[in-house]
């Protein structure tokens, strides 16, 4: 099928793959990109928020033509109980800046655009092509891939594995382990369509402004998880995700968890009357720094979700994917420019550059958070939200009871639920994992 040899083969046309393909193609490398979907984005799912800074470093003028939904001017965090939510809202007019910092996007549209930019720089994109096997030479160096299309293997100096969280190639060749149930969350999401003016009225927005809500609490049934509501131009993304290990232990149905979230009295009015046009599910890497596999070797590098490069605390993934793809592309270009082989010694440059970037610095900062969230799920997602909610109710409900008694009630509830030492311990554990 394809006789020529490429400088690089990129597996996948998501955030990491497109960034890598664009970076290498625009520097003159001969790049082949393989995508198993009908079009880039057709297998990809994200909430989704685009972080402008990381895309600007790849395509500075992206705002002129990229398919963006709404610029985000408001962030809401909700601590939820069955009937209430205690919220922290942050809204700032400065987010209406000339070059906004965050946007909502719809991945199937965005990925098609991003892949087209790489093609315009000379990358060759083959869709509907599943890479099924890495080819290694006698010394174990990756020298190409086999696909499910007719014809023989395709050869390249280096293969960029941007195959996503559920990528098979790396695991099949023992380059990286399959993620464990503790290292991934399963998220389900629906696209709720409404007229733009209805969305703007319900979320207190002007045209093209957007808001996001991220919610934790009893909605996850005591599992480590989170719900989210993102405003797009004429749709609202509503979803919820929990650790796969928690789902397995609790034998909970994710689709029913989503239904319950949608019916929550704080959520239902926001999506009332909407038309649902899609139901999606996807895994999210949650293992953090300690779950990152070896990211480079002889003839290969791993980028994005495939390398567990996801910051679960800040809910950032696409920007880490994009940045790791860009850095991999730059490192490969440097090695190529020096006319040196794409072996592990030389490709270690990718890891070195990644170590120096925000990607691994951020993940390192939170290296102990995943464990804390997993072991303290009942406290963090059931006990505390209920305590906070009751404290708020004591504060705002006026019923003739003296305030001193109400305060006592709040303090007693906290002490009873966690004990004085328990409370101190929780605060200490959180602070230690956070810093």
């Amino acid at each position: 099928m394809i006789d020529e040899k490429f400088d690089a083969i990129v597996i996948g046309a998501g955030m990491a793959g497109n960034a890598a393909a664009y970076t290498m193609a625009s520097r003159g490398l001969k790049v082949l990109q393989l995508e198993r979907g009908e079009y880039p984005g057709s297998k990809n799912v994200q909430g989704g928020i685009l972080y402008a800074d990381m895309l600007e470093k790849i395509i500075p003028e992206f705002r002129n033509e990229a398919p963006l939904e709404r610029r985000l001017i408001e962030q809401r965090f909700w601590f939820m109980t069955d009937k209430a939510h205690t919220g922290m809202h942050y809204r700032n007019e400065d987010f209406n800046e000339e070059k906004p910092n965050r946007y909502t996007i719809i991945r199937s549209q965005f990925d098609r655009w991003f892949a087209r930019q790489a093609q315009e720089k000379g990358a060759i994109l083959l869709c509907e092509t599943t890479a099924i096997e890495l080819i290694q030479d006698a010394y174990g160096k990756v020298v190409g891939v086999r696909t499910d299309r007719s014809g023989g293997p395709i050869h390249a100096d280096v293969v960029v594995l941007a195959e996503g969280v559920n990528g098979l190639l790396g695991a099949r060749s023992d380059l990286r382990p399959r993620p464990t149930a503790q290292q991934v969350a399963l998220a389900v999401k629906e696209m709720h369509f409404l007229p733009p003016e209805v969305i703007e009225a319900r979320f207190n927005l002007k045209s093209d402004e957007g808001a996001v809500i991220e919610a934790a609490g009893t909605i996850s049934n005591g599992m480590t998880g989170m719900g989210f509501i993102y405003t797009n131009k004429e749709s609202i993304s509503v979803g919820i995700g929990c650790l796969v290990s928690d789902f397995a232990e609790n034998e909970t149905s994710p689709s029913e968890l989503l239904e319950a979230f949608k019916k929550h009295p704080s959520v239902a009015p926001l999506i009332a009357g909407s038309e649902v046009k899609e139901y999606a599910a996807h895994l999210i890497p949650e293992g953090g720094y300690k779950a990152i596999p070896q990211l480079f070797g002889n003839g290969w590098v791993i980028c994005g979700d495939a390398g567990q490069l996801n910051n679960a605390i800040h809910r950032e993934g696409s920007n880490l994917a994009m940045t790791s793809g860009r850095i991999a592309g730059e490192a490969i270009f440097q090695v190529k420019s020096r006319r040196e082989p794409m072996n592990a010694d030389n490709l270690a440059l990718y890891k070195k550059m990644l170590d120096e970037s925000f990607v691994l610095k951020d993940l390192k900062k939170y290296k102990d958070m995943p464990e804390l969230l997993h072991t303290q799920a009942q406290n963090l997602f059931l006990t505390y939200p209920q305590l906070v909610s009751k404290a708020m109710e004591n504060f705002v409900r006026v019923d003739g009871k003296p305030k001193i008694e109400k305060e006592k009630d709040t303090v007693t509830r906290f002490r009873k639920a966690r004990g004085t030492f328990g409370l101190i311990g929780d605060a200490f554990r959180l602070a230690r994992a956070w810093r």
């Binding site: 199937s108 559920n166 149930a181 991934v184 049934n221 689709s255 649902v276 046009k277």
Partner: protein, 99 residues
Amino acid sequence: MSLEGQFQKVEEKLFQNRYMVDSGQPHIRITPHDKPSKNLLAMTHLCPAGCYSVAESGQVELTADGCLECGTCRVLCEESGDITWNYPRGGYGILFKFG
């Protein structure tokens, strides 16, 4: 807490999606078994597309047509040999309109 029976069924949700089904070539297969493992049985609750069900005989069955290709069953059941997991052929399977 069981939420069963109160909400829209998964099958109804899947109707809104776009699929290119590769007839007769399921990309996930269950290994024949007498008694399902704990994880395989859990998939009857966990699979977000409701692809797994328990037959009258007690074995777990799979209809992969509505699969969303999330990989949850791969994470839980591939290593133990309960299932084999492949991608659908290029171009087939779920095709997200929005993603």
